[in-house]
Symmetry: C2
Subunit: 318 residues, 2 copies
């Protein structure tokens, strides 16, 4: 099975490349990179584990993309959130090349298609374009990352692993939210893309459903350190979001301003609205990974906290 | 089962009211009408067959709608295309009232959610709002109507039944398109709304899949009259559509101008793109009526042509 991956060097992309190699020897993997990055350390590593690395631009020219994608069973896009709409020419080229299955970049939390998160809306726009041209696809969401879920400890001993600490509890901390260790994303993707049942479907793969209160309890229990429980109310979060949205409404195209809105909308969605659950995914039309692969093992949040406490965790976005 | 119907007096709405009454005595049917129409001839007929007719406005006030909808198992909206977005307050009220299932106004051909037809996009916007607030729903499409499918005959003897004659064949006339007798729509809806399997799903019910060439063949064969086959090419249709869209782009809110675009986009979708098929419906995530109710009888297009030839057909929009 020939798999072409765009955005392979990001957090999700690296998990997918590794996950595919670890799951099966049947995958022939091609990582697409920018010309300037062809000899990067990351691409050297991809070559070492057996991937081919080729230079291309997903915006075209179309004939180059069609040539690259011809014969591909699966094309996976795990590109940066800033360039999501650049996938449109890639989708068109995949259709012309007769790609067997296109996995657009989603890999996020579950939320309704529109009216809740700008980031989701852009991803839905790409999916709508896929549907407009009847490109075979699978849309995959994975929940929130363990790596973005933990509060810091008073001792500071897990700070090394935490890029954006979750020191404040959202709302009353009781909203359940599905989450996953980054390294398991690729293992789930390996299952999904080789599965006929997931063709032209949305799939939600996640490892565990936890509330913020449960996450704090686990971190306290395993570390032996007490955590102060500070809460951000829905009203406070909405006020922050209104401020952040004003900057966009004033016409800012600044990436930092957009990211701030994305992050706050994520928080409201999984932490307050409670969108990110298997039940809501089912309502929204997803097939659930746990139904498809009931026996699949995964890293639990407890395992991950122990990883952090043992100094073995890796910080994402490092 | 208590069913509240908005837009009951339209073509689709009347089919639904009749279809529910004919299918089962278990339906308690409430037709919602405007205050001014409460004593219309149509509403008298609804009362005669056993429906309750109540006056309300789907735009609110919300407390009136919540009161009306409280206790409803199903709310069906078959409202006029011009007022589709007025369903938003109705959707919000249905959520507050705890309605068991909301059927928004779709009842159209199958097409991709966005980028093909403005009318579909507005219907998808309403569906997106339903999903945003997790209102239990069923989205029903029914294909193209037999009543809008037939060409006229040279003798003029079926003109009485045809509101918009289909005298020109679109493209090469080979695009398959799923279609249905208007009177069967309500019979399908009666099945769908009483079916647990269709909750929070899109369902495509249709009677037959026919190409325009096949439709011309059937009309010729049953009437014994020869039809001239005139074709509208894709390029000609696109040119007409561009002209019509220019009027909207210039800012026109005129209903006739919008309808012209809708009609031409319908033609391109079912007649040229070939969107309106069970295969595409499956790709787009619909459950198919024929899979759910394989033994259900229906009026065929041949039956319908015979109805017309025998002078027994009813003209829609009369």
């Amino acid at each position: 099975m020939k798999v072409v991956i765009f955005g392979a060097s990001g957090e999700t992309g690296r998990s997918i490349v590794k996950g595919l190699f670890e799951s099966s020897t049947d995958f022939e993997i091609i990582c697409v990179t920018r010309k300037a990055s062809i000899n990067s350390k990351q691409n050297e590593e991809f070559r070492k584990i057996g991937a081919r690395v080729v230079a291309a631009d997903m915006k075209g020219p179309e004939e180059d993309l069609v040539q690259l994608l011809t014969g591909a069973d699966v094309v996976i896009s795990a590109v940066n959130a800033a360039v999501l709409t650049d996938q449109i020419p890639l989708v068109d080229a995949a259709k012309k090349a007769g790609v067997g299955r296109f996995v657009p970049c989603s890999f996020m939390t579950v939320a309704p298609p529109r009216g809740v998160m700008l980031l989701r809306e852009t991803k839905e726009d790409v999916l709508d374009h896929i549907k407009k041209i009847y490109l075979p696809y699978t849309f995959i969401d994975v929940g929130w990352w363990f790596q973005l879920s933990s509060p810091r400890l008073p001792s500071g001993r897990i700070d090394y692993a935490i890029p954006f600490p979750n020191d404040r509890i959202l709302g009353d901390g009781k909203a359940p939210s599905a989450c996953t260790h980054i390294k398991d994303i690729g293992r789930y993707v390996a299952k999904v893309i080789a599965d006929r049942r997931t063709l032209n479907k949305s799939v939600f793969t996640y490892s565990e459903v936890l509330t913020s209160n449960e996450i704090f309890d686990i971190v306290e229990r395993l570390s032996g350190e007490a955590l102060e429980r500070k809460y951000t109310t829905e009203a406070e979060l909405n006020a922050q979001l209104s401020e952040a949205e004003k900057v966009l409404q004033a016409g800012s195209k600044d990436y930092a301003a957009i990211s701030t809105v994305w992050v706050l909308q994520y928080s409201r969605s999984w932490g307050i609205r409670g969108d990110n659950t298997p039940e809501n995914a089912r309502y929204l039309g997803y097939i659930i990974g746990k139904d498809l692969y009931p026996d699949m093992d995964f890293t639990t949040f407890e395992d991950y906290v122990n990883e952090m406490l043992q100094g073995k965790a890796e910080k994402p976005y490092a």
